[in-house]
Structure formats: C-alpha cells, structure tokens
C-alpha cells in the first residue's frame, strides 16, 4: 500500500498540462481528485513516473448551463454537482447519482472528469453520460476533438483517449423539461461499487412514452447503453409488458464478473430489477 516514487507537477493552464503530458508520454498520468488513481498507485497497479495535477487549472472547474447545452469542466467535483440548484432543476439525475457515489469526504474531492475518463467499469458517471448522450472534450497537442460517451469505452481501463490527451470537459444537450429520470444502484455498503445499477430517462406524453434512454453500471467491462431496452419502452404506456421487455433486453447485454458482490447470474438478475425500478421511478417523476 505504498506507491512507487514519482515527480509531481501542478500546472495552472491547460496548455502547460498538455505540454507536460507530451514531454512524458507513457510515463505520466493526470491527477484530479485522485480517488481512482491514488489507490491504484498504492497497489502499484499504476506506477507513473510523473503525476500532472490539474486541480489548479481554473478553466476546468465550472458548470455552465446554456439555453440548450450543459458544459461541465473536468475538475468539477461531485459535491459541486450536488450543490448546483440550477443543474438539479434541469438535469436532476446528476445530483441523484452523485449522492450515491462514495461518501461526502470523497465527493468533496472526486471529480466528474476523473470518474469518466479512465474507464473504470465500477464508476457511476460513465453510464449517466451514455444515458445523456454526452460528448467528451479531449485536448491534446494536435488540438481539440470530441468523442461520444457511447463510443468512448473500449474495455476496462481502455478508452478512446490517447495517452497525450486530457479530458477537459463534458457537454450534452439539456434534457427536455418534464422528463423523468432515476438512478437505482444497489451496493453492499457506502463506498462500494454497484453490484448492479441502472439509469433511466424518459418522456411521457398523453400516457405514452415518447423517448427513453437506459444505461447500466458495473455489469460488463464497460458501461452499457441499453438501446434495445429503451426502444422497448418508446411508444408504450410503460405497462408491465413493456417494462418486462425492457428488462429482458437490458439483461441480455450484461456480462458481469462473478466477484464478492455475487455470481454473474445474480448480478444479471439484479440488473433487471434495477432497470425495472428505475423505469417506474422515472415514470412517476415524468410530467
């Protein structure tokens, strides 16, 4: 539980950070809140020679809510997401999810960028970003590009980000007014990763579901956007049959590990229960 030695850098601009990363490609890692990286370093599963701490880069720490788009900087903490009333009004699932991440001390340090960037399948925000169809903004020596959250995750800890890029912000279309959403997460205790978790966002008009999105956490080596499950809801009255069809479609794409949280069979079963409950809660909140 003692990390190897490393050099610590604390740039104050994004260009400086990109420059440092470029000069140590392969030997450097980006540090923000540290709640994924530092435990990995203590276990010596990560052994960077250089740590580039981006917490001093002021530009990355803001939440901006426009008429149609929401931008969240990479170093925005989970506590900031919880405390923003404006964000909670237009996109309440971010507060609801953040409150289910670890405990208040960790949420004061843990960042949204860190949560989504490194491809840890246990993290909650990747599924939420897939739910919202968010874009990740990546900046590197060759400029800026965006990658869809739904296309970003390749395998556990493997993502579309290049080693010389920094994930600097997340942007997504502001959810429609009147939508309903919910994140149901079952875990063994505070601070644990999900045994199974599901996020649902939907709109209802005249008793019929007009749009739906479903995503799941920690049920495969990447977050899962459950397109077929969502399609099973669209056009339905969110009745028992439609929900059962969505649950079956969601379970069909899970591929969880058997671990201390339970065997794969249980976690797949539980994924369906979480999806069902999240649909019911989102439905109750819609309108």
């Amino acid at each position: 539980m003692i990390p190897g030695s490393f050099d610590y850098h604390r740039p104050s601009t994004i260009d400086e950070a990109i420059g440092l990363l470029a000069s140590h490609v392969g030997d450097a890692l980006i540090l923000a809140g540290g709640h994924s990286l530092i435990p990995m370093m203590k276990l010596r599963m990560a052994t960077p020679e250089h740590l580039i701490d981006i917490q001093d880069i002021y530009d990355l720490s803001a939440i901006s809510i426009g008429a149609n788009q929401i931008d969240i900087g990479a170093t925005v903490t989970q506590a900031q997401l919880i405390h923003s009333e404006e964000l909670a009004d237009c996109c309440p699932i971010l507060r609801e999810t953040s409150l289910q991440i670890a405990d208040p001390q960790i949420r004061n340090l843990g960042t949204i960028g860190g949560n989504v960037a490194n491809g840890d399948p246990g993290n909650d925000m990747p599924a939420i970003m897939q739910l919202l169809d968010a874009d990740y903004v990546l900046q590197g020596p060759d400029g800026t590009r965006t990658v869809k959250a739904r296309a970003y995750y390749e395998a556990a800890y493997f993502t579309a980000r290049s080693e010389n890029e920094i994930l600097t912000s997340i942007r997504f279309t502001k959810p429609a007014a009147g939508h309903g959403s919910s994140y149901h997460k079952q875990k063994r205790k505070i601070g644990d990763y999900a045994t199974a978790a599901a996020a649902v966002m939907l709109e209802v008009s005249n008793g019929s579901c007009t749009s739906a999105s479903i995503a799941m956490t920690n049920l495969a080596d990447t977050p899962l956007w459950a397109e077929a499950a969502a399609n099973a809801l669209i056009g339905s009255a969110l009745d028992a049959d439609a929900i059962a069809a969505a649950v079956a479609a969601a379970r069909a794409i899970t591929n969880p590990a058997s671990d201390g949280r339970g065997p794969a069979e249980y976690r797949t079963h539980l994924a369906g229960i979480m999806v069902k409950r999240a649909i019911e809660t989102a439905h109750a909140r819609a309108g």
């Binding site: 003692i2 190897g4 405990d103 079952q186 063994r188 205790k189 065997p263 539980l270």
Partner: protein, 807 residues
C-alpha cells in the same frame, strides 16, 4: 448568614463517580483531539523501517532467494531470510497453541502473503521499493484449501517440518495434516439420547472465516540499547507481559533486560493477542543493526496475514421429546486452523471453551469433539470479540434450537423458555463440565419479549406472509431470537494458562500523601475504557474520587504481571484484583483511622469515603486525611505509606448472558436485508459504567452485524485469498448500522468481589445468531432449515430463488 451545610450522602457518592456512574471516558479527551500515542506515532532517532516480501502463492517450494538487487539499492540496510535466522534458531517461533510458526518461510511457503524476507531500509518507501527487487523463485505445489479434504490419504503434505512428529501439543495426530483431536462429555450417552428421542435434528453449521480487522493494524518498534543490553519493544500487544516472557524464552535475553510497552491501541478484538513474525524480525534487525526498527503492516497485510477468527464447521445434533424437552446434544467440529496452529486459547483448551455449546439450556447429556486441521491459509483462530470459541458454540446451539423449533412447529422463544436452566438451579454444572455461576434466563427473555411486543410482531408476520402470498408485497419479515450464555474471565490458574503462565491478573495501588492515587494493572485497554472504569471500582472501594485516580497499564517495567486483555477477562480478573487491592488499602486505612481517632479498629465502620466511629459519625477520618497521616505520622506497629498489590486468581469463570431480538425485512428480489430493529438485553452482573456498557454493546453488535451479514475471508481453489482488502471485506459504516436498543437485568456473579461479569464481547456472541436466526425466520414458513453465513445480498437472493420466491 450563608451557612454551608455538609454534603449529603448522595452528594458524597456522586463526587466519587464510583460503581454505577456513567462517568465520561477520561481517554476521550486525547482520542477525540487526535492526541493518542499509537505505535506508529513513535519516532526514535536513527529509526529504520522494515517491510516484508510475501508469498504470492498458497503453497510453493522456495527454490532460491536473490537479495542482491535489493541490497544494492541506496538506503537499504539489510534483507533477512530464514537462512539468516537459522543460526539464531529464530526461523521458527512458538505459537500460543503449542505449535511452531515460521518467522520467515523455511524452504516452503504455506499460505498466500506468508512472510518470506524482511527488508530493512531508511524509510518506508525505500523498503517497499526494495521488496519488489528481492527475487524469489518458487515451484508451485498443489494447495489444500478445503478443510474437509485435509485428512484425505492423498492430501498434499503441508508441514514438512513436523511430518514425523505424530504426537502434537494436544495428543496424537491421526494424519500429517491433523493438528489435534479434543473432546468432552459422554458420547455414548449423547448417541443413546439421539437414538431414543421422539424427535432429532441434525445440521452442519459453518461459521465462516472472518477477521477482527481493528482500525489500527499490527506493528511494533524494537530498540536494542547496546550500551545496557536492554531491548525495548513497543507494539500492538493485547498481552504485553506474556509477550515479554515469550520474547525472553525465544531470544534468551533475560526478562529484566526486555521492556515491552503497549502504547495506545486502536482496537484489538483478538487480532493483537498473538506474536507475529514482524515483531521477531524487528527485534532481530534492531539487535543486528543497533538502531530502532519500526514495522507496521498495512491493511491488506493485516487482513491476509495476521490472525483470522472462526472457520469452524460444526455438525450439531439435538434430541428432544415431542413436546420440546431437549434430551441430548452431540456435536462435532472440523476446525480449519490454517498453515500453523496459532490459535490463541488457554493452552489446555485447543478448542477454547467450545464446550459451552450446551448454551443456556438444561441438557442432561452432551458430547462435543473437535478436530483441528492444517490448510494453506493464514494461521490464527483468535477470539474475535468473544471469549475463546464461545461465539462459535453460541452460534451452533442457537441455530440448532431454532431448527428444532421449526421441526416441532413451536415458537423458538417458547422452546427456549421450556429448556432454560432455571434460576434456582444455579450454580449449575453443565453436562460438559462448566459450573455456571448465576443466571435468571426466564426473566431476561420475558423482559425482552415484552419490550419488543413479541406477540404483536408474530401477528404482524402472519399478516405479512399473507400479503406476500397475495402479491401485495415483495418483502418478508423475519424475527430472530437468540439467547446466549458466555463464559469469560479466564481464568482459574488450576486449569487456565498460556504457555504455562497462569491466567491470573493483578493490580498495584499507591495512595499519594494528598489523597490521590495511581493504580497499575496487568491488562491493557484497546478502547475498552479501563482508565475510566477501573478508577470507578477503586473509587467505591477506597473512597477517593475516580478523577483523582490515575490508571496505568501496558508497560512491563512498571505494571504488575498480568495476562492481558481479551476474552472479556479484564473486568472479571483484573477488575477483581483492583477491588481486592482496594480492600487491602482500606484495611490498613482502618488501622490508621483507629489510631487517629483513638478507638479500637472494631469500633469503626466504613461510610462512602471515610471511617467513622460506630454510633458517632461526627468522629471520622476521611480517606484523604488517612492518606496524609500514613505519610506523616509514626504509627506504632504500622509501616509508613499506603500501598497494596493484589494478584487475583479467580475461583471460577463468569457467565454473562442476554436475550437479543432482531426484526428484519427482506426484499426477495434483491436479497437486501433491512434491519428494522434490534433489541439487546445484557446481564453482565454488577454494572460499573452504564454508558461504557452501552457503547460496548453498540460496538459488539455492529461487529456481529458485519459477521452475520457480510464478512468472509475466503480462498479460491489454488489458495488465493479473496476479500483481502476493504474493497471486499465488509466493514459496515454508520449508514449500514441500524439503531440499537439496549436493556439489562442485573444478576451479580456470586464469586466476583463486586459481582461484575464482563460485557465487551457478549454482543458479538449473541448478535450473530440473532441476525442469522432473523434471516432464517423470514423464510421458515417456506421450509428453509439452514443456510450458511454471511447473509449478504446475493446469498439471501439465492435462498429466495431456491425456494421459488423470485426468478
């Protein structure tokens, strides 16, 4: 005119803050301000740090160890292996259970995370880096993980060091992986009771391997002073005096040249009773280098290498009449001790006090047999917040009684009431030989049932089950009843010793001239609040306010010899020594008072904080006055000063008991168990500090919750430890912990000087079966008999699924 009236009796008693006072813990001022002094706070000039190279395998032969790269690293001072310890004959050390344990792996590794080499370096970071540079070549061997296969003819041979030694510390060994067979009671009689019974039940009940997981891990600082030849060892020791004696025996350093100090300890729960390789390696490294060496294990090392608890596979059989009178008990245990028998039990009791397994019931005939075996797992088998193997015994009998109740279709509380030892039967000698000192079980359970409205709960459960059948709810309600009898306070020297050291304890008191005092004990607090409660015992005994009494423990250079703190022994044994030493003080004080008051001793009577002349209370001398007189008066026939020491050998154990009732609501679709309420009635005899008792019960129940609902140290088939970090090992937080309701009855121990029995471990002993019985009770109407702990989400769901309650 403002005339000050003399204090009333009540005010004088309150000023003492003696027995029964919820005096605030004096320790908390430093703990709550972060001013405790733990072993890792000790920093000495020139101190070096030790770290271990550990085995990645469960079972492997060491083909070679190459230290060159590590030794070449700047800042590395030494790398020790078994080869370096052999010339000192320190590559093995004796365990408390009469076995030996490798200090550093000798030719073979026998469990994952076993200590292979000890790296000494200038700081922790260098030591950790250098550990990665020690090259160890292994040849993997087949691992033995399943205890039930340990004695198979073709089982892998684990302990090559003792393969020809078929006579173990506890008698003959039947197989090279067998450690001992120990039994007790009348097997023939128990079998006859089973054969003749109207009704019998049998179940194999596993109490899984868990770990005490104290917040502070184990560690030490060893410092050899080469000038005066004295070795000082600060460490996380629950038994500092025993550690000194063992250290002296294995190093040949005379005992007066060894000082062992237990500083503040951040929880022990049995994990800090044993002697670990880190202590030996640190001491050797300090002797070799002449500078202090610190070793502190990290959390994963603590969970995977220092002592585990439980791992008992218990097959119980009960015989009963058709109307529910239990007529016999037969029990056999397969005990998985890991790679070395490092169990912490009194030496003559290789299975601890497991033969308390008749519990709170008047069972006429009983037998229990225990076979211990070696496996490729970490050694240990300590009493994790319980007396020696008592929680295993209580879990077994409390599950078996519930299983019998189902079979008889009787209410589990009613069946217990029917079979309890009756109040008038105490002192009661059990079929397995223990003499229970006192008890009133019926009153305790009746009070508990009334407090929780037991009948109404059962009626609600009937409604809940009907609603479940109608599809109106997906939750099932379970009510868990457990009634436990502990056996604590080891123990009488005639049958309790550890490596030949009698399990007495001690207290030494010195009264200062101005009427304050210092008391030193052979025990050591790890959070129990000894400095608070033992001062309270003394306050009542000698009439000096508790706040004027300093308590010291844990330094073998100053404290009197004692066997330490575990197994709820401090209050029954050292608490008794404290009271007895106090009485010696009072006896001398009475002689001084008689001289001062110019009366015969027999004319004096004790009154709260003073001796007064019978019939003339105006003529009195307070303890404060007497203390001063003892230092300034030449009293004929009396030595100056006021001091006493008592070494207390308890005539018997004490037998705390309690009634616990848990209500749980189970979501059958997710397996989530919601503890709705938990009621704990404890009878620990005389209550010294009710607030501390309540805190102890809260803590013990929380650990019981952890064990019953989530904790498990398991291994895969090749001996890789699973759950060796807090990512997986279940340590509940405040969020997972339900509201506890505590209650009590008071049945004093007849043989203890103040009637106290000890309470710190009762809630763990009674809590685990209460939780487990509640989970089983929720499914009882669906035919569930038994399912193994822990009752975590997926296992509970699996139970529901097997019963056809969820898909």
């Amino acid at each position: 005119m403002n005339v000050q009236s003399p204090p009333t009796d009540k005010q004088r008693i309150e000023k003492l803050q003696g027995l029964g006072s919820s005096r605030k813990r004096v320790e908390d001022a430093r703990f709550t301000q972060g001013k405790g002094n733990y072993v890792d706070d000790i920093k000495l000039p020139g101190m070096l740090f030790g770290d271990f190279v550990r085995s990645p395998y469960g079972h492997a032969r060491i083909k070679s160890i190459n230290k060159d790269a590590a030794l070449a690293m700047p800042g590395v001072v030494a790398v020790l292996t078994a080869e370096d310890l052999k010339p000192l004959n320190l590559h093995y050390m004796p365990t408390l259970a009469g076995d030996v344990q490798a200090v550093l792996a000798d030719e073979k590794v026998l469990f994952q995370a076993q200590e292979v080499a000890f790296v000494v370096a200038k700081d922790r970071y260098i030591a950790a880096d250098a550990c990665e540079l020690v090259e160890v070549e292994y040849e993997e061997l087949p691992a033995l993980v399943d205890a039930f296969k340990a004695m198979d003819a073709d089982a892998p041979l684990l302990r090559e060091d003792i393969k020809d030694k078929m006579e173990g510390a506890h008698g003959a060994r039947a197989h090279y992986n067998h450690i001992f067979h120990w039994d007790c009671g009348d097997e023939e009689g128990a079998n006859k009771a089973l054969a003749d019974a109207d009704v019998t039940v049998e179940e194999m009940i596993t109490y899984q391997r868990v770990h005490p997981c104290p917040l502070e891990t184990c560690g030490c600082v060893a410092s050899m002073d080469k000038i005066n030849g004295k070795l000082t060892l600060w460490g996380t020791f629950q038994a500092p005096h025993a550690v000194r004696t063992v250290a002296s025996l294995i190093t040949n350093i005379p005992e007066h040249k060894i000082r062992v100090v237990s500083p503040d300890i951040g929880g022990g729960f049995g994990n800090k009773v044993g002697v670990y390789p880190g202590y030996i390696c640190s001491a050797v490294a300090s002797i070799v280098t002449g500078v202090p060496i610190k070793w502190v294990e990290d959390r994963m090392e603590n969970l995977s290498a220092t002592a585990f608890a439980r791992d008992y596979h218990m097959t119980g059989k009960l015989a009963a009449t058709k109307d529910g009178v239990i007529t016999g008990l037969h029990c056999h245990v397969l005990a998985d001790h890991g790679a070395f028998d490092a169990c912490a039990d009194p030496t003559k009791f290789p299975a601890g006090f497991f033969n308390i397994c008749t519990g709170s019931y008047d069972i006429p005939v009983a037998y229990c047999g225990v076979d211990g075996v070696y496996t490729n797992k970490a050694p240990g088998g300590v009493a994790y917040r319980c007396s020696f193997r008592v929680t295993e015994a209580a879990y077994m009998i409390e599950r078996m009684v519930d299983i019998l109740a189902r079979k008889l279709d009787m209410d589990p509380a009613e069946l217990r009431m029917k079979n309890f030892i009756k109040k008038e039967q105490f002192p009661y000698t059990s079929a397995l030989g223990w003499e229970y000192d006192s008890g009133d079980y019926h009153t305790a359970l009746e009070k508990g049932m009334e407090s929780v409205s037991y009948k109404a709960l059962r009626a609600e459960q009937v409604d809940n089950r009907a609603a479940f059948e109608r599809g109106e709810t997906r939750k099932l309600m379970g009510i868990g009843v457990a009634f436990f009898t502990e056996i604590v306070g080891a123990g009488p020297v005639k049958n309790c010793d550890i490596l030949g050291l009698g399990m007495f304890d001690s207290c030494e008191i010195r009264i200062h001239p101005t009427g304050s005092a210092i008391a030193r004990l052979g025990t050591i607090s790890q959070g129990q609040g000894h400095a608070t409660t033992f001062a309270q015992i003394l306050a009542t005994e000698i009439g000096i306010p508790a706040e004027d009494i300093t308590l010291e423990e844990g330094d073998t250079d100053t404290a009197p010899y004692g066997l330490g703190t575990y197994g709820s022994r401090s209050t029954p044994v050292a608490g008794a020594a404290t009271a007895m030493a106090g009485r010696k003080i009072r006896a001398k004080a009475q002689m001084i008072a008689a001289y001062l008051l110019e009366v015969h001793e027999g004319d004096l009577e004790w009154d709260i904080d003073r001796f007064q002349v019978k019939g003339n209370p105006e003529a009195h001398k307070t303890m404060k006055e007497i203390a001063f007189a003892s230092y300034n008066q030449a009293i004929p026939g009396l030595e100056p000063g006021l001091e006493a020491v008592s070494y207390y050998d308890p005539p018997n154990m004490t037998y705390p008991f309690g009634a616990y009732i848990c209500v749980v609501d189970i979501d059958v679709d997710t397996g989530v168990t919601d503890i709705r309420s938990f009621y704990a009635l404890d009878d620990c005899g005389t209550r010294i500090n009710p607030m501390i008792i309540e805190g102890q019960v809260h803590g013990g129940l929380t650990e019981a919750l952890a064990i019953a609902m989530g904790q498990e140290i398991s291994y895969d088939e090749i001996g890789n430890i699973k759950g060796g970090s807090l990512m997986d090992f279940y340590l509940p937080t405040a969020v997972e912990t339900p509201m506890w309701t505590t209650d009590f009855t008071t049945t004093p121990s007849p043989h203890h000087p103040i009637g106290a029995k000890g309470v710190g471990e009762s809630p763990n002993v009674g809590g685990v079966p209460a939780f487990s019985n509640a989970v089983h009770d929720a499914f009882a109407h669906k035919g569930l008999t038994h399912t193994q702990m822990p009752h975590d989400h997926w296992r509970v769901w699996k139970t529901a699924q097997k019963l056809g309650l969820t898909d």
